[in-house]
């Protein structure tokens, strides 16, 4: 199980690296004066912290994870702190979508415009 959790951390780090550029691109599209911009900033900061925590965590484990039967106390503490921060950060990410509508109807704008148009709605000029 100690070995398993080491591999899980590595998988998590690799997946996080892949997710970072997509998150940055989404964040750069948010206007700075919107409240979601600040939430995005906290989301990003917390995630960077979480990644750092798990990198250190993996470093502590890497020497001995093959033989250990019990998790190193420092590593366990880092995992608990990291997981809690991750939940907090993920919640902020969720707020951006469900409360502020970030990325909502971004790709489907044309589809909904066509629906609204045929339903006789006032529409903005097409860009």
């Amino acid at each position: 199980m100690v070995r398993l959790s080491f591999w899980a951390i590595l998988l998590g780090l690799v997946a996080a690296l892949i997710a970072i550029p997509t998150g940055l691109v989404d964040w750069l599209r948010i206007k700075k004066e919107k409240p979601a911009w600040r939430i995005g900033l906290y989301h990003m900061g917390l995630n960077a912290l979480v990644v750092a925590i798990f990198v250190i965590n993996a470093k502590i484990r890497v020497q001995s994870f093959r033989f250990d039967t019990e998790v190193d106390a420092r590593a366990l503490t880092l995992s608990i702190v990291g997981a809690l921060l991750l939940v907090g950060s993920a919640y902020l990410g969720g707020l951006m979508v469900y409360d502020h509508g970030i990325s909502v109807a971004r790709h489907s704008k044309k589809k909904w415009r066509a629906v609204a148009e045929s339903a006789g709605a006032n529409l903005p000029e097409q860009k």
């Binding site: 398993l4 591999w7 969720g94 707020l95 469900y98 909502v104 709605a121």
Partner: protein
């Protein structure tokens, strides 16, 4: 009350898309361990992969409950209703495949490499999960399901009321074509109806005892105003919080820049009648 909790109102965030991270991560990790067991056959990978599957199935079942609560709120004629049905069906199939997978594995937990049958089941499971997850995402990012839902205090319309327009004949008002759309009693305070008047789609709302009719689609990214928050004589789009004056249709605040079309409403013999020929508000500059 329970439904409101399951929809995550207190969190301002629906619970289902939050909880699904657990089964997605667990099934993915299980599958990665299967692959690792083939690259570096070693004791423990297969066993670990099994525990991930079991935990994945359990958390998937937990996540299904708030998913159903969200499903029940999608308007019956909304295109996303069908997506939601696919999403649900695929997810049940996926959880079933992984449950069978786990049951086969538990009979012998100690091979060094994942055997072909459980591996094949896991590949099928991951494929189903990917498709279904994509559909779930499309419901949120394309159709805005569950977005801003927590700001609306009352129920959203269950379906669109379809009204065929009378060809030419008559009207209850001298200066326009007034069409009865529903019994006035049907519309409760703070709620709205979604009405399709021969192709023109409008929302009819009741706030502080007054009735208002306006175009269904927000002028920003065309969010559903019949699902918006009604307050202080205004309607707020659930997606990006554009706010419009109910009476005039004017933008109270953006991101929308264009005013709504509004329609006169009156009550005639207990029916809500909408005059769809006249628009009360001009387009602002």
């Amino acid at each position: 009350m329970i439904k409101q909790f399951l929809q995550g109102r207190p969190l301002r965030h629906p619970l289902h898309p939050l909880l699904v991270h657990a089964p997605i991560a667990l099934f993915s990790l299980s599958f990665v361990l299967d692959i690792v067991s083939h690259l570096y056959p070693m004791e423990g990978f297969y066993e670990g992969s099994f525990y991930c599957l079991v935990a994945g199935v359990i958390t998937a079942l937990v996540a299904a409950i708030p998913g159903l609560a969200d499903y029940s709120d999608i308007r019956r004629d909304h295109p996303a209703k069908r997506k939601a049905q696919w999403h649900m069906g695929l997810n049940f199939a996926m959880a079933g495949v992984f449950a069978i997978d786990a049951w086969i594995r538990h009979q012998d937990l100690y091979p060094l490499k994942t055997p072909p049958l459980p591996l094949a089941l896991s590949i099928i499971g991951i494929a189903l999960l990917s498709i279904s997850g994509y559909i779930g995402g499309a419901m949120i990012y394309d159709d805005g399901i569950a977005v801003g839902r927590h700001r609306r205090r009352t129920a959203t319309p269950e379906e669109t009321i379809g009204i065929a327009l009378p060809p030419d004949r008559s009207s209850t008002s001298p200066n326009g074509r007034c069409v009865p759309v529903a019994d006035a009693d049907l519309l409760h305070e703070g709620e709205s109806l979604r009405v399709d008047l021969g192709g023109i789609i409008i929302a009819v709302a009741k706030l502080d005892g007054q009735f208002y009719a306006f175009q269904e689609f927000c002028t920003h990214r065309f969010g559903p105003l019949s699902e918006g928050k009604l307050e202080n004589g205004r309607v707020e789009c659930p997606w990006h919080r554009s706010c419009f004056d109910l009476r005039t249709g004017k933008v109270a605040h953006g991101p929308a820049k264009i005013d709504l079309k509004t329609y006169p409403v009156r009550i005639h013999e207990g029916k809500l009648c909408v005059d769809f020929t006249a628009t009360a508000a001009p387009v602002s500059s």
